[in-house]
């Protein structure tokens, strides 16, 4: 094959060839990435994941059930501080009941038992109850963020999940 033809060197030819295909691939890749991003919506029609739960003073020591039905959480005030427990049993997702006289959560479905800390101690539940993140907002109210949760005992002292007041 000739090195030069109609004013174009072979080197130039190769450059155009590779530039073309490289750009084409990058463009296709970019389009594919944009389309992938398209599948992750910016906004959802879901219940907001965070909610305001009033002033800390409104809570007495122990387990508080006021948000059990509306937000599916228990807010617990312990000597260590506030934490928020999910009301979903870690076994099969039923909602345990808080038995205040026995100081434990008892799942009606399969009998899993949890201590007020969320620690499982009886029945088939494999893990402690999950905990949600909470913090004080500007106005001094508790704000609970259900989009962040922990399931491991080792993280219980994380300041985002245990609020000292």
């Amino acid at each position: 094959m000739a090195d030069t033809d109609e004013g174009l060197t072979r080197r130039e030819f190769i450059n155009w060839f590779w530039v073309g295909w490289a750009t084409f691939s990058i463009a296709l890749g970019a389009i594919a990435t944009l389309l992938g991003r398209f599948l992750f919506p910016n906004v959802l029609f879901e219940k907001p994941m965070s909610f305001r739960a009033g002033k800390p003073d409104e809570y007495g020591p122990g387990v508080d059930e006021r948000f059990k039905d509306t937000q599916n959480v228990w807010i617990v005030r312990s000597p260590e501080g506030f934490y928020v427990l999910s009301t979903v049993c870690t076994h099969l997702g039923c909602t345990p009941n808080w038995l205040s006289s026995e100081k434990k959560f008892k799942c009606p479905c399969h009998g899993s038992g949890f201590r007020p800390t969320g620690q499982h101690f009886e029945g088939p539940a494999p893990r402690p109850l999950e905990r949600y993140s909470l913090a004080l907002d500007d106005t001094g109210n508790l704000r609970i963020d259900k989009s962040r949760k922990i399931r491991d005992v080792n993280q219980w002292n994380d300041p985002d999940f245990l609020l000292k007041v």
Partner: protein, 359 residues
Amino acid sequence: MEWLKDVVNFLSNPTIFFTGAVVLWVLIMKYYRIWTAPKFIKTVTILSVIALGAALFDPNFAKEALKPDNVPIWIMIYSVGFFFWLAMRRGLLNDDLMAEGLPNLEKQESDKRVYTWPDLVYSELICMVLFTAFLVGWSVILKAPLEDPANAGVTPAIAKAPWYFLGLQEILVYYDPWMAGVILPGLIVVGLIAMPYFDMNPKGNGYYTIKERFWALWVWGFGFVVLWIALIFLGTFMRGPGWNFFGPFEYWDSHKVVALANINLSEIVWVQLFNIGLPSNILVRESVGIILTVLYMSVIPPLLAKTFLKKLYEEMGLVRYSLMIVLVLIMASLPIKMYLRWSFNLKYIVSIPEYMFNL
């Protein structure tokens, strides 16, 4: 009759059921000459239909067996059985022919070409019409199921995936979701696609045969029939509320209590063996499991390449062999894990819940 039901219930226990399936598979592949006889299979079919019919008198059995969504499974069991028989039968005939130095059944005709019209066109049309008739009839007899309206707040006693995924859901008992739901299905697909490139045997292309590719049939069939079909059967008919085991004639009691006595390898080692608490360092704690896993994946392949699979290794070359053996080992890890669970109550070999990594 009750004792018979009890016996069947007992035998359907996952341990026995699965072991039985494996043993049966070994026997099937060893004695195919016997059961591929038409008389034999006819007898077995008739007997099984009678047994099934009789079993349907048991309300507990009938309830699950006749669930509209479970009917396809019976169709699948019988059709897989029939076609497996057909394939093996023809393979046997071909093997016999070839042993005599004669061309096999396909070879006898493969050079002849016939007009597509009307042979193929008509036979396909007939198939379609027959199938349509069958489908409409099925639809008339069985209504599609519809339960209560969706309610995320009401958890059913048991949540099952569609039946064709129940094999995977059964694996969930032994592996965490990331293995059972992501890695294993992914590897199944990858393995299937890669299979033609691993199978270096040029024989057996385009005709039924057993002898010429016995081990290929053995391994692939084990995966399809035992690890897929049999586990679907188990998952559908023998797993009740709470994914607890129930015999085919047992009532699905949602209050059944089963001891959860499973423990991790690290606990066996540190607590049961050395009687000290778990080390706080994760890597130390899980060192035994990690070492075992690494050994399984890194030592066995070269060992096999040197011994049993020497010939195969030489044929395939390093890259092909390594890829294939990894896939096979992962597939084999499932029954291994199952047996470890049953014999030692072993929950996880490596258990790092801190990073949700459990093996």
